[in-house]
Amino acid sequence: MEASSRRAVLAAGAGTAVAGAAAGLTWASRPAAAGPGAGAPDAPADGVVPFRGAHQAGITTPAQDRLHFVALDVVTSDPEELRALLTAWTRAAERMTAGAEAAPGGTVGGGPYGVPEDTGEALDLAAANLTVTIGYGPSLFDERFGLGARRPGALRELPAFAGDDLDPARSGGDLCIQACADDPQVAVHAVRNLVRMGFGVVAVRWSQLGFGRTSSTSTSQVTPRNMFGFKDGTANLKAEDPVALDEHVWVDGAEAAGGAGWLAGGSYLVARRIRMHIEVWDRSTLQDQQDTIGRDKKVGAPLGQRDEFEEPDLAAVAADGQPRIPVDSHVALAHPSNLDGVRILRRGYNFTDGSDGQGHLDAGLFFIAFVRDPFRQFVPMQQALARADKLNEYIEHTGSALFACPPGLRDGQDWGTQLFA
């Protein structure tokens, strides 16, 4: 396996002689920037992202630098307790995203004998574009809380994929909170305070810190690099392209039929913890790396081209008769032309959880994607990748979860009334 793939790489590379050719971890070309008034949210200058709106913040919001993601299980059997917590969470989340304490005067205002309602580590910090995004897992809609009739059709367990090595302790969950901010302490503060409010009602199942965004979700952002050193998310869906977002990201009213009407205008969140075998990758040749990804490492252009944002030419053939972009490269397999036009909004983060006990980095990509229907978008894409992606030599999926994220909140509305209404 190792030997044959190496030969294939050599064959594909020989004779290309296209230095600065081209590649990138995602597929379609950069969408044309939409005109003004198209609803493209630039990061506000004062570092506060509006909490309310048609859609939840933290999806098309320009990806912040840091992530704290937590999946929780509901431990109470009383739906009222859950509903009250969702209401209390809304208030605290709205306050914190504005840069305020989780509760008024929460740090010291309770006096010397009170337990502070806010833990205080973000007291002197700016809002740092904090967003708090909530999602509900398939298991929340079992018989426990009377929500069975409200389960959206596409909110069910993801199938197993070839090569998965999923850890149950890093997978699933009744609900999730995605906190993103440009300051890691602000993101951690948000999750810490929300988790604390939930003791007795919810319990943390797993959580993940991410230290660097791996996607740009706005044309105003430069494309960041993943832990393989490649630009990642070049061809991502962008906030400035509302037509594509409607087509690929937001659940429309007709799909959210019957009891699942609460999801209209929402989106599905797919989370995958992808461990990278960093040390093995790092001792691969540049050509091997570029052929694996299908893009040039420095510029990010598709192999055979010069500019990062050029459309990959999957038909281009090198002098040796082999495709310039190997057919089993990541870019080729994930290209919409190979997936019936499927696209996704990626919003993942690099992670490093220290070392693994054997002296290797426990690092990789915490993949987050927002999609309109996971079974029409993520599942076929991941099946294609899991079967053939050259990248599989260097990665392993160790965690997996699917959540349905409700739409944004109107004035006066909260997550409790939105879900249980």
Binding site: V108, G110, G111, Y113, G114, A127, G200
Partner: protein
């Protein structure tokens, strides 16, 4: 055993009940003196308070947001303790609220445009004589009397069981001593915060082997635990047992004489749960015998006993809090029962990581409301 810092905190808490927030109902005193509510105009850059003085009692503010940002209005006592606040005042909106300012003195008002920062502050003076609401002194006094009775009874049992345990060790009856060990210790664990408040006796009786690092000799229950489970009885085991009995005798005399205040009860009930969280649920306390769940149960019972003593007061002061504590306490107790084995429990080493996670979750759920009891007591 707890850290010396926790021990000190328990001892030095002053008895200042009835002086704190006093947000109870006004006793018919005049509202805000003459002239009705005090108008506050809050803009994005200013906080205009129409009058900056009021007589002690209920003060009414009418806050109007004339700015463009969401605003908040606070009244602070010294140290930024919040006497009252009104949040989420949208642009153009007005809110009226009442705050109890029972003690004369200098307070501060603050508007917080955008909900962040220290706010735009100004001094606010409360005049006249104290209008402190009557505190529930009788119920709280009864609580301390009740709890002291509990401490006393546990202390007596502790001495009795320790005497028997020491006898078994000295007679070389290893199996019987091992059987009695977790039960005898449970009396200590129920009143641990009180027992530990006598600084030097705690490490002598309950110190783990690490006390050697602090330059002390390794004595007491855990030294005998090591002898019984790990090394077998040694030549000095009998002498160690004699010292244990002498130390426990001294401790029991002190514990029975201790005077407690209601805040110490409240803090003690939380401290017992902290003991579980940091020592028992981790399997650290009983590293040779692995009888940590006996300690877990005893700490939990001791915590509930302190809450029980405060119950008549709490039931009036904060009935919702009592209901939450009760339901979460029941859940934790039920979960602990699933690990029962005969009269005792399974050993810590038999618990799976999933068992420990569930116990931790149930403990977190119980400890959060218990931690707020002190605040309720301080409010009187």
């Amino acid at each position: 055993m707890t850290t010396s810092r926790a021990r000190a905190a328990l001892l030095i808490l002053p008895l200042t009940l009835g002086l704190a927030a006093c947000s109870g109902a006004a006793d018919g005193s005049e509202t805000t003196g003459s002239g009705g509510p005090i108008a506050v105009t809050a803009s994005d850059t200013a906080c205009e308070v129409a009058r900056t003085e009021a007589p002690a009692g209920t003060v009414e503010f009418a806050v109007t947001n004339s700015g463009t940002k969401v605003n908040e209005f606070y009244v602070y006592a010294e140290g930024d303790r919040i006497m009252g606040e009104v949040e989420n005042i949208g642009p153009g909106l007005s809110r009226t609220f009442h705050v109890e300012l029972a003690e004369p003195g200098t307070y501060q008002t603050a508007c917080k445009p955008g909900m962040v920062g220290d706010g735009i502050r100004a001094d606010f003076t409360v005049t006249g004589s104290s209008a402190a609401a009557k505190s529930d002194d009788e119920k709280l006094t009864a609580a301390t009397t009740d709890y002291q009775r509990y401490v006393s009874s546990q202390a007596d049992e502790f001495l009795e069981e320790t005497t028997e345990f020491v006898g078994l060790v000295k007679a070389g009856k290893v199996e019987e001593a091992k059987a009695l060990y977790p039960t005898a210790r449970s009396y200590w664990e129920r009143i641990e915060p009180v027992a530990e408040s006598f600084g030097d006796l705690d490490p002598k009786i309950d110190g783990r082997e690490d006390v050697v690092e602090e330059g002390m000799e390794f004595t007491g229950y855990h030294r005998l635990e090591k002898d019984l489970w790990e090394t077998g009885l040694r030549s000095d085991s009998g002498a160690i047992a004699d010292r244990l009995l002498a130390d426990v005798t001294e401790l029991v005399a002190k514990a029975k004489a201790v005077e407690l205040n209601p805040l110490q009860l409240a803090n003690g009930s939380k401290a017992l749960l902290d003991e579980i969280a940091t020592g028992k649920i981790t399997g650290e306390e009983e590293r040779y015998s692995h009888t940590d769940l006996w300690d877990f149960e005893a700490n939990f019972e001791g915590s509930k006993a302190a809450i029980q003593a405060l119950r008549p007061f709490l039931r009036e002061a904060d009935p919702d809090l009592v209901a939450t504590i009760d339901s979460r306490g029941t859940a934790l107790g039920d979960l602990l029962e699933t690990h029962r084995d005969g009269d005792g429990f399974v050993l810590y080493t038999e618990l799976t990581p999933a068992d420990v996670k569930k116990l931790t979750e149930a403990l977190d759920a119980f400890a959060e409301p218990v931690a707020t009891v002190a605040g309720a007591v301080a409010k009187g």
